[in-house]
Amino acid sequence: MTELEVKNLYKIFGSNPNEARKLAEEGVPKDKILKETGNTIGVNNVSFKVEKGETFVVMGLSGSGKSTLIRCLNRLQDPTFGEVHVNGRNIVTLNKQELRDLRRTKMSMVFQNFGLFPHRSVRRNVDYGLEIQGIGMEERKKRAYEALKLVGLEGYEEMKTTELSGGMQQRVGLARALVLDPDILLMDEAFSALDPLIKRNMQDELLELQEKVKKTIVFITHDLDEALKLGDRIAVMYEGSVVQIGTPEEILTEPANDYVRDFVENVDRTKVLTAESIMKKPLAVVDSREGPKAAIRRMEKEEISSIYVVDKSRILQGVVDIEDAKRLADKGVKSLKSILKSDYDTTALDTRIIDLLPLASRTNYPIAVIDDKQRLMGVIVRVSVISGISREGVDNDA
């Protein structure tokens, strides 16, 4: 289900947006439009849909319009043209009261520099959104404590926010947004002001939290690693326009243009690419109903020394060596059952390459990639783990 939809959104700063929009539609670059019309294109004809429960990352360098874009979603800035639909309702036309109701119940925001209220305690920061709705003291306190527990700030409720570290302050910011139980969470460079280590922790915890709360998240960042880690899908922005929308793997393996290619070039691919993207289709398998002769024939054809055995619904049964199979064939045994070995390694489709490295270095057989029903989906030989790390290898396999 689509929770949030942006249609042909423009944000143009200046007195003559119509003309600027016309030029932008003709493909005139941003700085030329500024020179000619005095208008700055903040967001240039952006459209996308975000599904319920999805984490949608908008990535771009500073000045690419991503912060302006997210502010158009809850109308901290009003779009110049275009529509923003939340659950099918266009929120661009809402009046002040309707907009306040939307912000109080539907979407909350987390800010880069936290935006905490320095004059209020941790708890009173979190319960602010409830207080302004006229909710009573007791319930406010209860819900604030719950939200703080959710972000791991139990015991810090009555402290001053200034006594907390950056990471903890942002947890307060997160709790303040979550306490309203919104459907949509807008996170504007939420972890960018944090130390690298803290940042990674917060990312992990956000992923964990997201498992529990299942919000629809729009996450803004300039950090590609962060985008690849958090995003179900990523929109790459450049000069106000979205140049590509895709899953992390699509962005990495099929960059839409040179800009995206440059951007993704220096990424640590082992942390992003998964087993699925480097595995080979398991062409060489034997059905468990087949005998040793069939197995030998296939191994000789593929020039391999072992082969995986699956049953009729492709569920992995084991692996056989060519020597064992030959011995069995000499004896005239028809079933492979007696020589099936189980000392191979398996991995899931979404395992990251970096986590495959230890497996790849110890295993005697290619790593078996299985889905959640134990079906064999592919195999990974040691060399493709190595080549998966370097970009060329991936391109060859793809």
Partner: protein
């Protein structure tokens, strides 16, 4: 010689202003009369109330106030300082000055703080108010006294009005500054949670800018004190009158004593209001 041919016409700005004041005097007499009554009552009643009690009791009350607001050291300083003022024989003058400062400060704050809020909320209002504040602050203080005695009652009332005009700018400026200094992301956070304009102002902007606003309040009160002394020129009474009479008699000792009393009063008021500001910060 050529220069004489080009004659620049003289602008009778002074005449215009005088006409304007006369116009106000003629047509808004009822308003000024009302202001006269209210201010006169306020100043005299505060004065009377403070003089009703024995001096020592009032001094003790102020010392306790200073202690409560700040520290026992300020309490002690207040006690000794006011005792010195008393023993020099300036108690009733000091009380008059204090009531003038109190009334004019309160009026200046009642007008100044909302004006500062308006200036912070709207760039247009801000840009109108700014030159007005420059005017109020840099126009020589004595100049206010002239229209003040025409429009208002000579003495305490005219003195109070002149003081209000002179002392108001700092609190307007600093209220404006304080609110504008609240970080953008804090404002955005409050808005993104669904605050109304009023909730944003009362629950976020004002509390956060309170320390800065208090600095403005402190400045306004200090300026009130210095202007109240000048206002003795038009018979506003108080310590200023003592300073003036010392000046006219070239009485060095009396002049120093009266001046010292002003300084003591100023220090006490300054420290007490400052510590309110520090309290606001915490």
């Amino acid at each position: 010689m050529m220069l004489n041919i080009i004659t620049i016409p003289q602008l009778p700005i002074g005449d215009y202003f005088e006409n304007f004041i006369r116009f106000l005097q003629r047509h808004f007499d009822f308003f000024f009369e009302g202001v006269n009554v209210v201010i006169r009552m306020a100043v005299h009643n505060i004065d009377r109330l403070l003089m009703l009690l024995p001096g020592l009791i009032v001094i003790l009350i102020f010392a306790l106030l200073a202690w409560w607001a700040s520290s026992k050291w300020l309490g002690l300083f207040t006690f000794i300082g006011l005792l010195v003022v008393y023993s020099m024989g300036f108690w009733s003058s000091a009380v008059s000055t204090l009531s003038l400062v109190l009334v004019s400060s309160i009026i200046a704050l009642l007008i100044g703080i909302p004006l500062g809020i308006l200036a912070a909320k709207s760039d247009r209002i801000g840009s109108v108010i700014r030159p007005l504040l420059d005017f109020m602050q840099t126009m020589p203080a004595f100049v206010y006294l002239i229209p003040a005695i025409i429009l208002f009652e000579r003495g305490a009332v005219a003195g109070t009005i002149a003081t209000v005009i002179f002392a108001m700018p700092p609190v307007v400026r600093l209220t404006n500054l304080g609110i504008r200094q609240v970080p953008t992301d804090v404002i955005e956070a409050a808005k993104s949670l669904g605050s109304t304009g009023k909730q944003l102002l009362l629950k976020v902007q004002l509390p956060i800018s309170l320390p800065t606003i208090f600095a403005g309040i402190n400045q306004t009160i200090m300026l009130s004190l210095s202007m109240v002394v000048i206002a003795s020129m038009i018979g506003a009474g108080g310590l200023g009158q003592d300073v003036r009479s010392a000046l006219s008699r070239v009485d060095i000792g009396f002049g120093f004593e009266a001046g010292l009393a002003v300084v003591i009063l100023a220090m006490i008021i300054d420290r007490i209001t400052q510590s309110f500001g520090e309290k606001a910060e915490n």
